[in-house]
C-alpha cells in the first residue's frame, strides 16, 4: 500500500443555476491575458449540448484518454510512444481554433470617434486572432440554456448514444448545467502524452500542473486530454491548464471557482488513495466497472492501518485529520452520491459530480403530482429513461444502476426531510428504502443543504516549514525593489505578480464562517461615495495629510 493524498472536488449539479460566475472569476484570475482569450480553465456547459470545445466527448474523433489493448494493457488512445513522436510535427488530432471559437473584441473606438452622422455608428467585431473583421459564429457558450438546441443538440456525442429514444422536441426537453474544470486525474493522459515531461502530478496533493519552463509547445497534451482541459497559449507557445488554484489551496483557501460559486455547490477536500492500485483499477476490463474500481482505490481514512501507512508515507497528521473530515470522502464513499465524469476515459478523474435530480422532479411537478413524494419520485426515476440514461452516459459509462441509486437517495432525502420540516413524524422507511439509516440521511442532508464554508472546504494548508516556497506568502520583501519586479519585461507581463488571494486569509475566514450577512466590524479603509457631494475629497479616500500641508 502506497498512500497518497489527492485534493479533489465534488460538484452538486442540482444546485447549479448556470450563472457562469465560476467561469468569469476564474478567467479574471488566470486567463485574462492575450494568447489565452479562448482559454476557459472553468466552463459551464448546458447539457444536452456540444460542450467546449465542440463535441470533445467524441473520442472516436479526438482520441483523448486511454484505452485497453487486446491483451488488457493500458495504451494512449492516440497511439503509443513512437507514434506520438512521429506525429509531433503536425498533431493530426488537435482541435482547431474553430472547434473552440475565434475570440474577438469590438472596434469600440468607432462609437466615440465617429463624426456626427445620420446613422448610429456600429462597433464591429474584430478577431483577436487575425485582427480582421469577423462574423461571430460560435463561442464558449453558444448553446447556453439549450439555445439553438434544435439545430445543434443532436450532435451531442452523449445524446447520440441514446439517440434512438430521443426526439429533440421541446416538450420532452430536459436540461442541466455541467461546470467543468481540470479533473486532476490519478492517471492523467495529458501528462502521459507530454513528450517533454513538462506536465507533472504533485506528490503532496495530486494537483496536475504544467511546468512552463519545461513545456516546449508540442501540443500533445491538448489532444491527449479527453476532457480537453489543457489549452495551448498561442502567444507564448506553451500549454496551460487549470491549476486547482494551487497558490490558494496551499494556504487553505478554496479555488476561485469554488469561492465565488453562487449556488455553493462545490466541495473541496482530501482523498487518500493507494497509488499502487491505480493502474490496475484503470485497466478494469469493463467500462462500466470503472466507477466501482476507482472507488476501490480510495482508502478509508478512519482505518488505523491506513492512518499508519499514511504517516509512514510522510503525510502529516493534520492532513490525515482533514482527510477524515473531508466532504469528498463522505460524498463519494460514505453516502455514495458522487460519480466521476466519464470514467470510461480511464484517466481516473478526481472532480466528481452529484447528478441532478431536477430533470426528474420537474417532470413529476409538471404532471401535477406531488414531486416530493418518494413513491412518485422513485416511479419517475424508473420511468424517465431518457434523462437517467443520459446521466449514465456522462457519469458511469452508460450503466444506469449507479445513477438510479444516487437519484433515489436524493429523492428519498427530499421527501424524508420534508416530513421533518413540516413538523410531521419522520418516516424511517424512506431512508431504509435506499439502504441508509435516519441519522445518515440527516447528515447527508446537512452536508448537501446547509454545510458551512469550513465544512464544504476542508483544505489543510501546506506545511509552515515549507512556507518560504509557497506562492501566496511571498516571504521575500517585494518593497526592496522599487519600480516593480521584472525589469526586463514591459506591458502586461511586467511588475511583481499580484497574488491570487489578495484578501488576507484571516479576514476571509472570518467573513466566510460568520453566519451574519454583515461585513467586517471595522470599516477602516472603506470609502462611501454615495453621500459625497462632489466637493473636496470624500472622507477616507486619501490618507490624512500632515499638519503643515
Amino acid at each position: 500500500m502506497r498512500v497518497m493524498a489527492q485534493m479533489a472536488m465534488v460538484m452538486n449539479l442540482d444546485k447549479c443555476i448556470g450563472c457562469h460566475t465560476c467561469s468569469v472569476t476564474c478567467k479574471q484570475a488566470w486567463t485574462n491575458r492575450s494568447g489565452t482569450e479562448y482559454v476557459w480553465f472553468n466552463n459551464v456547459e448546458t447539457r444536452p449540448g456540444l460542450g467546449y470545445p465542440r463535441t470533445y466527448e467524441n473520442q472516436e474523433k479526438w482520441k483523448g484518454g486511454w484505452e485497453l489493448t487486446k491483451r488488457g494493457r493500458m495504451k494512449l488512445k492516440a497511439g503509443g510512444r513512437l507514434k506520438n513522436l512521429m506525429t509531433i510535427f503536425s498533431n493530426p488530432i488537435l482541435p482547431s481554433i474553430g472547434e473552440y471559437y475565434e475570440p474577438w473584441t469590438y472596434d469600440y473606438s468607432t462609437l466615440t470617434d465617429a463624426p456626427a452622422q445620420e446613422h448610429t455608428p456600429v462597433a464591429r467585431p474584430k478577431s483577436l486572432i487575425s485582427g480582421q473583421n469577423m462574423k461571430i459564429e460560435w463561442s464558449a457558450n453558444w448553446d447556453d440554456d439549450l439555445g439553438g438546441a434544435t439545430e445543434t443538440a443532436h450532435r451531442d456525442p452523449m445524446l447520440a448514444k441514446i439517440a434512438d429514444k430521443v426526439k429533440f422536441e421541446f416538450e420532452q426537453t430536459f436540461m442541466f448545467y455541467l461546470p467543468r474544470i481540470c479533473e486532476h486525474c490519478l492517471n492523467p493522459s495529458c501528462a502521459a502524452s507530454c513528450p517533454s515531461g513538462a506536465i507533472y502530478k504533485r506528490e503532496e496533493d495530486g494537483i496536475v500542473l504544467v511546468d512552463q519552463d519545461k513545456c516546449r509547445g508540442w501540443r500533445k497534451c491538448v489532444s491527449g486530454c479527453p476532457y480537453k482541459k489543457v489549452y495551448f497559449n498561442h502567444r507564448t507557445g506553451k500549454a496551460e491548464k487549470c491549476t486547482f488554484c494551487f497558490p490558494r489551496i496551499e494556504v487553505g483557501l478554496p479555488t476561485v471557482c469554488a469561492e465565488t460559486c453562487v449556488g455553493r455547490l462545490r466541495y473541496i477536500g482530501l482523498v487518500l488513495y493507494d497509488a499502487d492500485k491505480v493502474l490496475e483499477a484503470a485497466s478494469t476490463t469493463d467500462d462500466t466497472g470503472l466507477y466501482e474500481a476507482q472507488r476501490e482505490v480510495f482508502l478509508d481514512p478512519f482505518d488505523p492501518e491506513v492512518v499508519r501507512a499514511a504517516e509512514q508515507a510522510g503525510i502529516a497528521r493534520d492532513w490525515i485529520d482533514a482527510a477524515q473530515r473531508s466532504p469528498i470522502h463522505a460524498l463519494i464513499n460514505t453516502y455514495k452520491v458522487a460519480l466521476p465524469l466519464h470514467p470510461e476515459y480511464r484517466t481516473m478523474p478526481m472532480v466528481w459530480y452529484i447528478p441532478p435530480l431536477s430533470p426528474v422532479v420537474d417532470v413529476v411537478a409538471e404532471t401535477g403530482e406531488d414531486a416530493e413524494d418518494t413513491g412518485n419520485l422513485f416511479a419517475a426515476i424508473d420511468a424517465l429513461r431518457i434523462p437517467v440514461e443520459y446521466l449514465a452516459e456522462l457519469f458511469t459509462a452508460g450503466d444506469v444502476a449507479p445513477v438510479d441509486a444516487v437519484l433515489k437517495r436524493l429523492a428519498a432525502m427530499r421527501s424524508y426531510m420534508r416530513d421533518i420540516n413540516l413538523g410531521r413524524d419522520p418516516d424511517a422507511s424512506i431512508p431504509a428504502a435506499v439502504g441508509m439509516s435516519e441519522e445518515e440521511m440527516y447528515d447527508m442532508y446537512r452536508l448537501l443543504a446547509i454545510a458551512k464554508y469550513d465544512e464544504r472546504y476542508v483544505i489543510p494548508p501546506a506545511h509552515a516549514e515549507q512556507a518560504h516556497s509557497l506562492e501566496e506568502l511571498g516571504t521575500e520583501c517585494a518593497v526592496s525593489e522599487y519600480g516593480g519586479g521584472q525589469h526586463d519585461l514591459f506591458g502586461e507581463g511586467s511588475g511583481t505578480p499580484t497574488p491570487i488571494a489578495v484578501e488576507n486569509f484571516q479576514m476571509l475566514q472570518d467573513r466566510q464562517t460568520s453566519d451574519s450577512l454583515t461585513g467586517p466590524s471595522s470599516t477602516k479603509g472603506r470609502v462611501n461615495l454615495l453621500n459625497w457631494d462632489g466637493k473636496g475629497s470624500p472622507p477616507g479616500l486619501f490618507p490624512p495629510t500632515g499638519p503643515d500641508s
Binding site: 503536425s90 486572432i129 485582427g131 502521459a192 508540442w218 498561442h234
Partner: protein
Amino acid sequence: MNQFLFVVFPYLCLATFVVGHVWRYRYDKFGWTTRSSQLYENRLLRIGSPLFHFGMLGVVGGHIIGLLVPQAWTDWAGISERAYHVVAVAGGLLAGVMTVVGMAILIYRRRTVGPVFSATTPMDKVMYAFLGVVIVLGMWNTVAGSILTIGGEYNYREGVSVWYRSFLAFQPDAALMAQAPLGFQLHALVAFGLFALWPFTRLVHVFSAPVGYLTRPYIVYRQRDDAALGSHSPRRGWDRVGG
C-alpha cells in the same frame, strides 16, 4: 581573406552558437518553444510540416555521414566512389526535395494565412531568409554539382569534408575550402551565419527533441518545494547596493 572567411568567421559563429545556447537556456527557458501555429491553420501545416521536418532529418543525417566519415573509411569498407556517390545523391535528392517542397508550403502558409503571418516576428523572417538560402544553395550543390556537373566534377569528400573535420579538430585548413566551388563556399558561409543566429531564434526547439519520452515513465511526479515552482524565485543574497 580566406583565412577570415573559412577560419575566423566560422569559429566566431560556432562560439556564438554554443555560448548563445547556454545563455538562452539559462535566461529564457520560458521562451524555449516551437511557437506552433497549428491552432491557426492546420490544412497546409499537415502536409508541409512533416515533409519539411522529415526531409530535414534526412538532410542532417546525410551531412553527418558526408562531412564526418572520411573517404578512407568507406574505401576501406570496400564501397566504391561511384556506389557512394549514387547512394548519396539519390538520398540527398529525396531528402532535399522533401525539404524544399515542405519549406515552400510552410513559407507560403506563413505569408498568406493572416493569423500565422501576424504571429511572425522579425527574427523569424531573418531566420527564414538564412534557412531558405542555405537550403537552396545546398540543393543547387547537389543538383548542379553532382548531377548536371556544371563547372566540372567536385568531390566534396576530398575538399569541404576534410576542411570541416580539420575545423572541428581546431586545426583549420582554409586552403581546402578556398579551392571549393563557389556554391559550396556560399553554402558553408550562410550556414555558419545561420548557426550564429540559431540560439536567438525558434530553431532552439531542435535541441529539445523529446527522445527521452521513449524511456521515461508515463506519469511524472514532482514535489512541491521544487525551486522551479512559483513566480517568486529566492532573491540573490548579493544584490548590488544602489544601482
